[in-house]
């Protein structure tokens, strides 16, 4: 048996070699070289090289204004973690933002997806409404909310006032600004996760539910023992993607608060952008972005680990 297989693979290899020397092989290789070289060159210039440059620059005190860019080893990193309170605030804010916004997003989007999955009429209509903010430019969204949250003429305070509650400068107070931005971000991109959860729900066969109903399982039991476990991969997937995207949050802060008040909404990407393009400290900004890259890498690796263990059922 084993000799047969080995002679077969040997035969296969020989055939492949014959084919590779066959006429047309040269033409195929020429095609691959001609088509792939420009594509890979673009990847080299705009992906691989920048990753290398980022790491390289992080060891230098580099500014485009200064001809002199000395090698300073790990000092950018040391400075970031010991002498830059704004960066530490940005780390803290980003983590806080992710820890609140990601669960909030999932707690809101999963029930919406479940409800959408159960209705028969108007489904495309509702789906469109929930998805609409997700396709609008985040800058426009930020400006809309800047208006809604305006301390004087904003609708949020108007509504609170008519209910007899006090007005607040939501974006002007360090205690509330980050939470206001969380509301904005979650409102904006709930639509994505609703769609992904819906796609996940549609892969669960109806027969599972029918069997459970024959066994007398009630709605909660069906959700708890069928929907939830079978949706666990989708949920994990949504969690990781949302986490990675929220870790890079930038636009609402840049447009609405500039990281203020008192750095209470400063995030990592905002700080990188500030350091690199407002203060032109590009070596330092590179070190900060390497820190971000490592954080995201850890999250991605954790994701792979979870996905592998979950694969079994």
């Amino acid at each position: 048996m084993s000799t047969v297989t080995s002679s077969e693979t040997a035969g296969g290899r020989a055939a492949r070699q014959r084919r590779s020397r066959a006429p047309g092989h040269a033409a195929r290789m020429r095609f691959v070289a001609l088509a792939l070289t420009p594509i890979m060159l673009l990847f080299f210039i705009f992906s691989f090289l920048p990753i290398g440059v980022s790491i390289f620059l992080s060891f230098y005190r580099y500014s485009p204004l200064d001809m002199n860019a000395p090698f300073i080893g790990l000092r950018n990193y040391i400075f970031a973690f010991t002498k830059d309170p704004a960066f530490q605030a940005s780390l803290e804010n980003t983590i806080k933002y992710v820890l609140i916004a990601v669960p909030l997003n999932i707690v809101l989007t999963l029930p919406i997806a479940l409800a959408l999955n159960r209705i028969k009429r108007l489904k495309p209509f509702f789906r469109a409404i929930y998805f609409m903010p997700a396709i609008t430019s985040l800058v426009a969204v930020a400006l809309i909310w800047l208006y809604l949250l305006d301390p004087q003429s904003g609708m949020v305070n108007g509504l609170l006032n008519s209910l007899g509650l006090p007005r607040r400068a939501w974006l002007g107070e360090p205690e509330t600004a980050l939470y206001a931005l969380i509301v904005v971000a979650v409102w904006q991109d709930m639509g994505y996760n609703v769609i992904v959860f819906l796609a996940g729900l549609q892969t669960i066969p109806d027969t599972f539910y029918e069997a459970a109903m024959v066994d007398g399982a009630n709605g909660w039991q069906r959700f708890r023992h069928i929907t939830l476990p079978l949706l666990s991969r989708t949920t994990l997937f949504v969690t990781v993607l949302t986490t990675i995207s929220y870790m890079q949050v930038f636009i609402p802060m840049q447009v609405m608060t500039h990281g203020g008040p008192l750095n209470s909404t400063r995030t990592i990407v905002l700080h990188v952008w500030d350091q690199a393009f407002q203060y032109l400290k590009m070596g330092y900004a590179s070190a900060l972005s390497v820190v971000l890259m490592l954080m995201l890498l850890v999250i991605t690796l954790i994701q792979f680990r979870f996905l592998r263990t979950n694969w079994e059922y």
Partner: protein, 283 residues
């Protein structure tokens, strides 16, 4: 399925379904209110937009805000820039992704696996991480502050190649071999045999790419200085810094920025949804 179950139990089914619709409608209202407020405010007079307590429905709707935005700001230039950049980026990415996807799916050549692994690895590095080096490289190439700066670095997409490779893999090898026996050149095979079969994948990748390009902000913010080179999101933010006290103008400009993409979305809703589900694979 679950509805069928509740229907068998008399009395409760309707109530449950009604509750579901009520909850969904309340949620939809919450989702739509900010967008509606934007639209309503764009028809207000400057004074009405700032009134306290806020006015919901303008007493005398006016198009003045739109008139001002369209005449006092180079709005059409911004719109044209956005169209040029998004259309070019989308067309180029569709071309390079289908070509690259075809090659990685159907050819064997030395170093293939290494190259493909490197491509996949770039998916794990998000854009903000390479913002500074990209800026320095584009500066070296002399492209800063031009539309080229917004197009050239976005001509290839690892996600696009990955996606297209999956779709090309489903095309039978025999078909390609038969075309070769008929004497078709490699380029002819790609352009006339492979490309036409990738329609749905192209629509999905195209919509996804167009949308990200249309809404891109961080890179234009860094790469563009001149007002007449700006794309819409950057221009909108710029416009807001100049007119931040004029909510009527800012909201009218916002409506003009998001309207095109909302119209496209309403026409191609299914494709958008597919694009989002597939782009979830992106990671």
């Amino acid at each position: 399925m679950a509805i069928a179950a509740t229907k068998t139990r008399a009395g409760r089914p309707r109530a449950g379904t009604m509750l579901l619709y009520a909850a969904l409608s309340a949620g939809a209202l919450l989702m739509a209110t900010p967008l509606l407020m934007m639209l309503l405010t764009s028809f207000k007079t400057p004074a009405e937009a700032l009134r306290m307590p806020p006015v919901i429905i303008p007493a005398q709707p006016t198009l003045d805000a739109y008139r001002t935005v369209l005449t006092r700001a180079p709005f059409f230039t911004w719109f044209r820039n956005s169209v040029i950049v998004s259309v070019s980026v989308t067309a180029l990415i569709l071309f390079t992704s289908s070509l690259g996807g075809y090659i990685f799916a159907k050819f064997s050549f030395p170093g293939k696996n290494l190259l493909f692994t490197l491509l996949l690895a770039t998916l794990m590095v998000p854009f903000p991480v390479i913002l500074v080096p990209i800026y320095l490289i584009v500066n070296k190439l002399g492209m800063l502050n031009s539309l080229l700066a917004l197009i050239v670095p976005s001509m290839v997409s690892a996600f696009g190649i990955f996606l297209m490779r999956q779709f090309v893999a489903a095309i039978p090898d025999d078909l390609i071999d038969a075309a070769r026996l008929d004497g078709a050149s490699e380029w002819t095979i790609f352009w006339q045999l492979i490309r036409p079969q990738l329609g749905p994948a192209m629509a999905t990748l195209g919509i996804f790419t167009f949308m990200s390009s249309w809404n891109d902000y961080l890179w234009p913010l860094v790469a563009i200085n001149d007002q007449d080179k700006m794309t819409l999101p950057l221009a909108l933010s710029f416009f807001n810094t100049a007119h931040s006290t004029r909510y009527d103008l800012v909201m009218a400009a916002s409506v003009l920025v998001i309207l095109p993409i909302i119209v496209v979305f309403l026409f191609f809703q299914r494709h958008f949804i597919n694009a989002m589900v597939l782009s979830g694979v992106k990671g």
